[in-house]
C-alpha cells in the first residue's frame, strides 16, 4: 500500500518544481496500482499557492520573540498553523530563525531536533536522516516527550503554588510592618496640616473674623443678660431663704423661752406634788424624783411633745400664721400651767379619764403603778399616751404651701393632665390593641393578652379584654 514517501518538498523557491516532481513520482509509484491517478488530482490537495513573504516575516518575528523561544516547538508550530500559514511558510520561518528546532515534518522529535539545530547542520540531510526513523521513532520519542511535558506541568504547578503562597505571606508581612505605620504617620501629618491650615485660614481672613467676633460679642451680651436675670432670680430666692432663716431663728428663740417656761412650771409642779404626797415622801424620795422625773417627764412630755411635734413638722415650711398657731398652742400650754397647776392637773386627769378606754386604763394603772414602782415601764406608754392626747388636741395638720411661682404650678399641673391624658389614651389604645389582637388571632391566647394588658396597668381595659375574651370564646364555642 503506501510505501515511503518521496523526498520531502524542497525549500520555498523550489515549490513550483515540486508540483512537477510529485506527479511524476506518483506515476512511477502507482504504475502497479489499480487506479492510475491523474497528476492534477494530487496537486489539488496540496497548497498550490507560493509561500507568502509577509506571513513568513510575521512568523520569523514570532519565533524570534524570547518568550516564544522558551515554549515547546509543537506549540509554536500549532500556533503558526492556526494562523493559516502553510507548511512551506512555517518551514521557511523555522529555517530563518536559527535557534528554532528544524523538526519540520515529523513535528514530534524535540530533543534531537534542538541538538541538531544548535550544531547548524543543513536541514535537508537532517530531514532525510530523520525520515527513515520516522515511523519507528515517533512512537517511542513522543511518549517520553509527552510524559516529560506532563511531569513538568505537575512540578510547575507545585512550584507555582508554593511561590504564590510565599509571595502572599511576604506581602502581608511587608504591609503590616512598613506600609501601615507609614499610612498612619501620613494620616497624622495630613490631619495636623489641616489643623494648621484652619488656623492660617482664620488668621488670613480678617473680615470673617471680625464678623464672627461681633457675633460672639452679641452672643456674650445676650448671655450676660441671661446671667443677670438668673442672678436676680437667685437673689430673690436668696432673700426668701433669708426670710425662712429668720423665721427659723425666731422659732428657736421661742423654743428656748418655752423651755425655760416649762422648766419653771416643772419646778412649780414638783413643789405641789411634794405637798400632795408628803406622806409617801420617803418611799417616793427615790420614786419622787422618779415621779418628779416622771411627772416632769409626763408634764414635760405634752409640751415637749408639742414642741417637737409642732416645730419639727412645720419647720420646713412655717409661715407667720403657723407661727402664731404655735404660739397660741404654746400659750395654751402655758396658760393652764401658769394659771393653775391644780386645774391643769385636773384637766390632765380629766383628759386622761376622758381619753380612750385603754389609755385611761393604762394611765390608771400607771397612776397606781407609778406610786409603787415601774417607772421605767410607764414612761414610754405614758409618754405615748400623753403625747397622743395632746397631739389629738393640739396638732393641726400643716397647710399646703402657697404657690411661690404661678408658672411652676401650671407646669406641674400640665404634666398631671398630660399624664391623665396618657392614661386615657393608654386605656383607649389598650382597648384598640385588644380588639386588634382579638381580631387578628382567631384563637386568642388569654394569658398573653392579659399579660400585655397588665403591663399598661389599666384595670378597666383588663376587664374589657376579659369580657371580650369570654365573648370570643363563647362565639367560637
Amino acid at each position: 500500500m503506501a510505501t515511503q514517501s518521496p523526498p520531502p518538498p524542497p525549500p520555498a523557491d523550489e515549490n513550483q518544481g515540486a508540483e512537477i516532481i510529485q506527479p511524476t513520482n506518483v506515476d512511477q509509484q502507482n504504475a502497479g496500482d489499480e487506479s492510475v491517478k491523474p497528476s492534477s488530482t494530487t496537486s489539488v490537495f496540496v497548497n498550490s499557492e507560493p509561500p507568502r513573504e509577509d506571513q513568513v516575516q510575521n512568523a520569523v518575528k514570532f519565533l524570534s520573540h524570547p518568550k516564544v523561544k522558551g515554549s515547546p516547538v509543537m506549540y509554536r508550530r500549532s500556533f503558526l498553523e492556526k494562523k493559516g500559514l502553510t507548511k512551506e511558510e512555517i518551514d521557511e520561518a523555522f529555517r530563518r530563525v536559527p535557534d528554532s528546532a528544524p523538526t519540520v515534518q515529523t513535528g514530534g522529535v524535540n530533543q534531537d531536533g534542538q541538538l541538531k539545530s544548535s550544531s547548524n547542520i543543513q536541514q535537508q540531510p537532517q530531514q532525510q536522516t530523520l525520515q527513515p526513523g520516522l515511523p519507528a521513532s515517533t512512537g517511542v520519542n513522543t511518549a517520553p516527550g509527552i510524559l516529560s511535558r506532563s511531569r513538568f506541568h505537575w512540578s510547575h504547578a507545585l512550584i507555582l503554588v508554593g511561590v504564590l503562597t510565599a509571595s502572599g505571606a511576604g506581602t502581608v508581612i511587608i504591609i503590616k510592618n512598613s506600609l501601615l505605620p507609614r499610612l498612619k504617620s501620613w494620616i497624622r501629618k495630613v490631619v495636623l496640616d489641616e489643623d494648621d491650615e484652619q488656623l492660617k485660614k482664620t488668621i488670613n481672613k480678617p473680615t470673617l473674623a471680625e464678623e464672627t467676633a461681633q457675633a460672639a460679642k452679641s452672643a456674650a451680651a445676650a448671655a450676660a443678660d441671661v446671667a443677670k436675670a438668673s442672678q436676680e432670680m437667685l437673689a430673690s430666692k436668696g432673700e426668701e431663704r433669708k426670710y425662712f432663716v429668720e423665721v427659723v431663728s425666731l422659732l428657736d428663740k421661742q423654743i428656748q423661752e418655752m423651755k425655760l417656761m416649762t422648766s419653771a412650771i416643772r419646778r412649780l409642779e414638783g413643789q405641789e406634788d411634794l405637798r400632795v404626797s408628803q406622806t409617801s415622801s420617803k418611799r417616793l424620795v427615790a420614786n419622787g424624783k422618779a415621779d418628779y422625773d416622771m411627772r416632769s417627764v409626763r408634764s414635760l412630755s405634752p409640751p415637749a411633745s408639742v414642741e417637737p411635734s409642732g416645730p419639727p413638722h412645720p419647720k420646713s415650711y412655717m409661715e407667720p400664721w403657723e407661727i402664731g398657731q404655735v404660739q397660741n398652742t404654746s400659750s395654751q400650754v402655758f396658760q393652764p400651767q401658769v394659771n393653775g397647776e391644780e386645774s391643769y392637773v385636773k384637766v390632765h386627769d380629766t383628759t386622761q379619764s376622758n381619753g380612750d378606754d385603754p389609755l385611761p386604763w393604762w394611765q390608771k394603772k400607771n397612776v397606781r403603778i407609778r406610786e409603787i414602782d415601774e417607772v421605767e415601764y410607764n414612761v414610754a406608754p405614758n409618754g405615748a399616751a400623753s403625747t397622743q392626747q395632746p397631739l389629738q388636741r393640739v396638732w393641726v395638720p400643716p397647710q399646703p404651701p402657697p404657690i411661690a411661682m404661678a408658672g411652676a404650678a401650671e407646669a406641674i399641673r400640665r404634666p398631671k393632665q398630660a399624664v391623665q391624658k396618657e392614661q386615657v389614651s393608654d386605656n383607649q389604645s389598650v382597648a384598640q390593641s385588644s380588639d386588634i389582637s382579638n381580631g387578628a388571632h382567631e384563637i386568642p391566647i388569654p394569658s398573653e393578652s392579659e399579660g400585655a394588658v397588665e403591663g399598661t396597668n389599666v384595670s378597666s381595659s383588663e376587664i374589657q379584654v376579659v369580657q371580650e375574651h369570654s365573648e370570643t370564646k363563647s362565639e367560637e364555642q
Binding site: 489539488v44 500549532s78 515511523p135
Partner: protein, 318 residues
C-alpha cells in the same frame, strides 16, 4: 419507524455497505466515561411496523466510541475502543472467536475508525493521543502513524474519490488533509476557533469538505480555495458532534448535535436548514445516511435509543 433501545449509551451508528437493512451501533456504558462497551449489529425488518432485531452483540472491556463496516468483507466490523485498541469482529464466526483482531497501539482512546472505500484494504484510526494510524487487516501492526496534530484527533475520513487522501479533524482547531504517500500533512486548514469534532467529504465533489465544531457551526470548505469557507451553517444550539454528507443528494448533509437534534442542511441554499429532528432526549452523538437506500437516516444518542427513518418523515412515527 422503528426504534431500538440499547442497554448502554449510544455513540455511533453505521449502515452496512452490503446489506441495506443492517446497522452497526457502538455503545458505551455510563456515557462512555467508565465501564464496558457493546457493539450491536441490528437488522431492520422489511415491514416498518415491526421492531428492529439484534443479530449480534459483542461486549468489550471499555466503551466503544466508533464503528465502521469493512468494505472488503460483508460481515466484518471495526470497533474503535476507548482503551486505545482497535478490534475487528466477524459476524459470520461464532462469538467465541470474536474479536478476530485486536490492535493495541494507541496510547489514548480511539475516537474514530474509517474504512477506505476505494482501496478497501485499509482503515484509519484517529485517537486522542494526537495521532492517526493506518492499518491493514493482515498486518499486526500499524502501517503508518501520522502525528502532527497538537491535540486529540476526533475524526479521520477517507476521501471518497482519492484512495490515498484523507482528512483529520482535531481539537487543535485545525483540519489537516493528508496523503498517505506524503510523510506529513499536505494541507492545514485553520477551520475554526474551537475544537473540530467531525469532518466529512462531499460524495459528489472530492474537493468539498465539511467540518463540525464546538462553536456550534458547520463550515463547508473547498480545498482549492481554503482560506475562506464556502458556507457557514449555523442553527445548532450546542456543539455539533457529527456531520455526514448524503450519498444520494449532492448538497445535502445531516448533522447531529449536543442540542439533542438531528438537522439536515443544504449548503448551497441561502436558508441552509432543511429539516430538524428532535426525537432524542439526550445528546445526539451518532448519525449516518444509508448508501443503499436513498434518504434513510439513522441516529443514536446518549438516551440509549437508535432511530431509523426516512428523510422528510417523523422518526417517532409508528
Amino acid at each position: 419507524m422503528p426504534v431500538f433501545k440499547t442497554p448502554f449509551n449510544g455513540y455511533s451508528v453505521k449502515f452496512s455497505p452490503f446489506y441495506e437493512n443492517r446497522i452497526a451501533v457502538a455503545t458505551a456504558q455510563n456515557f462512555g466515561i467508565l465501564g464496558n462497551g457493546r457493539l450491536h449489529v441490528l437488522e431492520l425488518s422489511a415491514n416498518p411496523t415491526l421492531p428492529i432485531t439484534e443479530i449480534a452483540a459483542y461486549d468489550t472491556a471499555d466503551g466503544i466510541y466508533d464503528v465502521t463496516w469493512s468494505e472488503s468483507h460483508d460481515s466484518v466490523v471495526v470497533a474503535a475502543v476507548a482503551d486505545g485498541s482497535v478490534k475487528l469482529y466477524d459476524l459470520a464466526l461464532p462469538p467465541t472467536s470474536n474479536p478476530i483482531r485486536s490492535f493495541h497501539e494507541h496510547t489514548r482512546e480511539v475516537h474514530s475508525a474509517d474504512y477506505n472505500p476505494v482501496r478497501r484494504d485499509s482503515f484509519l484510526s484517529a485517537s486522542w493521543d494526537d495521532t492517526v494510524k493506518l492499518w491493514t487487516v493482515d498486518r499486526p501492526t500499524s502501517v503508518r502513524t501520522f502525528k502532527e496534530h497538537a491535540y486529540c484527533v476526533y475524526s479521520a475520513v477517507w476521501n471518497p474519490r482519492h484512495a490515498d487522501v484523507f482528512a483529520s479533524a482535531s481539537g487543535d482547531c485545525t483540519l489537516r488533509i493528508w496523503d498517505v504517500r506524503e510523510p506529513g500533512s499536505t494541507m492545514i486548514l485553520p477551520a475554526h476557533d474551537h475544537e473540530i469534532l467531525s469532518c466529512d467529504w462531499n460524495k459528489y465533489d472530492e474537493c468539498i469538505i465539511a467540518t463540525a465544531s464546538v462553536d456550534k457551526s458547520i463550515k463547508v470548505w473547498d480545498v482549492r480555495s481554503f482560506r475562506v469557507p464556502i458556507a457557514v451553517l449555523n442553527g445548532h444550539g450546542y456543539a455539533v458532534r457529527k456531520v455526514k454528507f448524503s450519498p444520494h443528494v449532492r448538497n445535502l448533509m445531516v448533522s447531529c448535535s449536543y442540542d439533542m437534534t438531528v438537522c439536515a442542511w443544504d449548503f448551497m441554499v441561502e436558508d441552509a436548514l432543511v429539516s430538524r429532528y428532535d426525537q432524542h432526549t439526550e445528546f445526539a452523538v451518532g448519525v449516518d445516511m444509508s448508501v443503499l437506500v436513498e434518504g434513510l437516516i439513522a441516529s443514536t444518542g446518549w438516551d440509549e435509543l437508535v432511530y431509523v427513518w426516512q428523510h422528510g418523515t417523523d422518526p417517532r412515527a409508528s
